[in-house]
Subunit: 163 residues, 2 copies
């Protein structure tokens, strides 16, 4: 007996798809982040400030007092959602879910470069980027789900996400 | 030797806090949802359409083809982020992270009522709410983190979230 096949919602990825996904990342100033609560093992969803570094990699800043900071230290694999609905149905607007490992930016020179990229996108963050307990992190994106509208989705590889 | 105490970022919750958090929930049309990928155990962040039901409980709709649907069936404990940054620093704008268990709306009468609430908030969803594979879910919120600006946060109980 033939198995019932799940309808395939995924569209073929083209250069236009890659460019549109890049555009979304290159203009975002914030993201939602999903982490795992170290105490309960349950998911947590919170907001982070977002930018891309000089090579196009997603970067973000966290306070060591935030719940997502403790969660990422414990379980660095994470997911970031980017894309802001306009008017009308919120599911009709494009968004991208990134999946990968979050790594703290440790190297001095690297941090200075990320700081510049971050502040050019989020200038008001200059009030706190250098405060004690604030650290920059980079997402090593392994794959992404890119949805451009109702039922129209693409699976992107890390190569597709390259700047 | 005295333990180094973490500075307490939490503010005392007042009636004004509760009213402002309610207001955020009562006007949101979408949310970010954090779930756990059943295949990898890693977090996933995606977008859902959002409303509140006649009693003020968070409700949302999902397609059975979505990744977060499969994830919630496997691990119903979840977290929803609500709140939309305006201009300026994205971390200066209010947002609420809800934590609780997602339960599918099964009862016919209940579903009809949730459908009405949902469509009054998201009228364009009438194109798909009744399609095969679309189901309504309710979040039984146990607690929430409500952040109204940089470093100003409240811990809310399920009682604080009552309509």
């Amino acid at each position: 007996m033939a198995e019932k096949k799940k309808p395939d919602m995924l569209q073929p990825v083209t250069d236009d798809t890659r460019a549109a996904a890049r555009d979304l990342l290159d203009n975002a100033t914030y993201a939602s982040i999903a982490t795992i609560d170290p105490k309960t093992g349950d998911p947590m969803c919170s907001r982070i400030g977002f930018a891309t570094d000089s090579k196009g990699h997603p970067v973000f800043i966290m306070s060591s007092l935030s719940g997502h900071h403790a969660a990422l230290v414990n379980h660095p694999q994470t997911s970031l959602l980017i894309g802001e609905p306009g008017s009308g149905d919120p599911l009709a607007h494009e968004r991208i879910s990134l999946f990968g490992k979050a790594v703290q930016v440790q190297d001095e020179e690297d941090r200075a470069s990320v700081r510049t990229s971050y502040l050019s996108r989020n200038p008001k963050a200059k009030l706190y980027v250098d405060l004690n307990g604030f650290t920059f992190w980079r997402l090593l994106a392994e794959r992404a789900g890119y949805v451009v509208g109702f039922g129209k989705a693409y699976a992107l590889t890390s190569a597709d996400l390259k700047a």
